[in-house]
Symmetry: C2
């Protein structure tokens, strides 16, 4: 297993001013690098507390790149439908160069009606735009004199500058696991998988991972080279009760944030998002239920060690864990404590392979 | 007067690898901050040696923001036609927050046919898209619940996050000075002016600045609050002859780079770019001619001091100078020498007001 951090802010100006939030996140990236964590990631969202502080993950990651030297930097994810592939390929290539090859590029379709509406992109096109843009970006990264004749974009011959450091291109992940077919497609394309286990049951996720791993091997790729990243909200404190008190507080606010962001699903339907109408009714946080189902990593060092070992047993000990340590509702000191306790009292004692 | 630096790379992978170039530029930003310079800027261009290492200025500026605390950070410029205003407003707002209010936002129309072609934007629309997108970005920065019903974009009501630190919005500059009318428009809109004196004669530039200043005052704004930024390639060395040898070498390569980038004007005409067809024939560097006309700042400390005093006499001592010190053809040590000599032996001896 490998461990990193992911920032998913769910605060607005009245909760935590953005300059303070970014300062704290950059301090936590520095700390994560010094403690040996694998990566730092950040999301892309707009307008709402739900991720809205980060409309451009590359901007934050570049700030982190300029002051670190080892930790990998990842989008989690970026949404190709919202910008031209030449633009997105170019800025990601700049980040790969500024960071000397530390970029992990995860792409997502997006799922919030208000975001698609603002960008003037029909949600029904989200899948086809995602597929086209990711493919165009990979071509721009790995080939010269690229001619692209797609459904949404046509250009070329052009040679993107700067060329990415990582060859043939930075690792590509897709944020998808809802459908078995999307997992199979990701494996066939050689893409890593990035998902939030909270969006489905353990059994459903196991089934999809099985399909992904089987397709990966079936595509002629060596078993064990697939890349699977899971994100979990995480609070570790010396005493489990204190961690749960903070974790519950955080989860209630995260739940309120996503509820506000998905409200538009009450009046939206899209053929590309079957069943998402139900999303409008997220309801209360169900903290205890999620904690019992190992959807949140919350507790004392020993409790969280048990959770991680359970996850390794369910999903394999080759998965990488991204810890959501600072949505902005707890203090940066609490987030730093989580990072330190994990690095010093949890990870070294794990009965799993560490990568 | 105030002084800063601007990066306009004209190198490709065969000249100077991009990771090395960015490392050197970030070191120069650190040095500029420590020496008291006002700002660091970087351009936006694509595909060619001519600026192509920097398809997204915000990405580089964010890397600089993450490791500095005082120096201002500017686009020079960014091209609104190539991205959605929500995206560009959002990433610039992130940069303004990460840097604690150090963003100078300069916008340009762009002028390279190959860039417009790749983005699928007709050049004839460049002016109308520029005007619409800059206005939309200013609205997104300064108002909540923005409804935008433009010719090219429609969205809202949306409230951009994060809110910019600088209120009502970061300083806006337009990169324009070719036409007297665009200078007048910039003044009426309250925008700063950013230009490269090399694109016109001293008399033409004086005339346009006169119009800009008159319209600024005529719009009810206080005289002296207008913001005028000029960019000059710059090499300072202890001996003038050595500086000129390096400056000539650099200028020849910069000229070759722009010649390749504008080649498409040989087969392009656009109503929005009258006369640009001639651009296809840039020819040789005319280094001596440009140096004599004070279009390049090249020489010993005393020689460059004389040049700056001449510029202050021509254009006013309230202008800000952005020095192009590292296009990538000279060593980073040479660029650092330029910065140090200017800060220590030129600027303190100037017979002009320092801001």
């Amino acid at each position: 297993m490998k461990f990193g951090i992911v920032f998913f802010p769910t605060v607005g100006p009245d909760d935590r001013p953005a300059p303070q939030y970014f300062d704290e996140c950059l301090q936590l990236v520095d700390l994560a690098e010094s403690l040996g964590y694998d990566h730092a990631k950040i999301v892309e969202h707009y307008f709402f507390r739900y991720g809205g502080y980060s409309p451009d993950p590359v901007t934050f990651l570049a700030a982190a790149a300029g002051r670190t030297s080892r930790i990998r930097l990842g989008t989690s994810a970026t949404i190709p439908a919202f910008q031209h592939p030449v633009k997105l390929a170019g800025k990601l290539a700049m980040l790969d160069n500024i960071s000397h090859g530390r970029l992990d590029a995860a792409f997502g379709r997006g799922f919030l009606p208000d975001e698609f509406s603002a960008f003037g992109i029909p949600m029904d096109e989200s899948k086809s735009r995602f597929v086209e843009n990711v493919e165009a970006i990979k071509r721009l990264w790995s080939e010269e004199n690229v001619v692209w004749e797609g459904q949404y974009h046509q250009f070329g011959p052009v040679t993107l500058l700067p060329r990415p450091v990582q060859q043939p291109h930075p690792p590509v992940f897709v944020t998808t696991a809802r459908s078995a077919e999307s997992c199979a497609e990701a494996a066939r394309a050689g893409h890593g998988l990035q998902t939030v286990p909270n969006v489905m049951s353990t059994e459903q996720l196991q089934e999809r991972l099985g399909i992904y791993r089987a397709e990966w091997a079936g595509s002629g790729r060596a078993a064990g080279t697939e890349r699977i990243h899971f994100s979990y909200p995480c609070v570790v404190a010396p005493e489990g009760e204190e961690a749960r008190r903070m974790g519950r507080f955080d989860d209630e606010r995260n739940t309120a944030a996503i509820s506000a962001a998905v409200a538009a699903w009450a009046t939206t339907t899209s053929s590309a998002y079957p069943g998402y109408e139900q999303f409008a009714n997220i309801g209360a946080s169900r903290f205890d239920e999620k904690l019992a189902a190992q959807k949140l990593m919350i507790g004392s060092p020993d409790q969280v060690r048990g959770q991680i070992e359970q996850i390794a047993e369910w999903f394999g000990d080759d998965v990488t864990i991204s810890l959501g340590i600072h949505s902005g509702h707890l203090s940066v000191e609490d987030a730093a404590t989580t990072l330190r306790l994990l690095a010093e009292e949890v990870i070294p004692k794990l009965s799993v392979n560490l990568l």
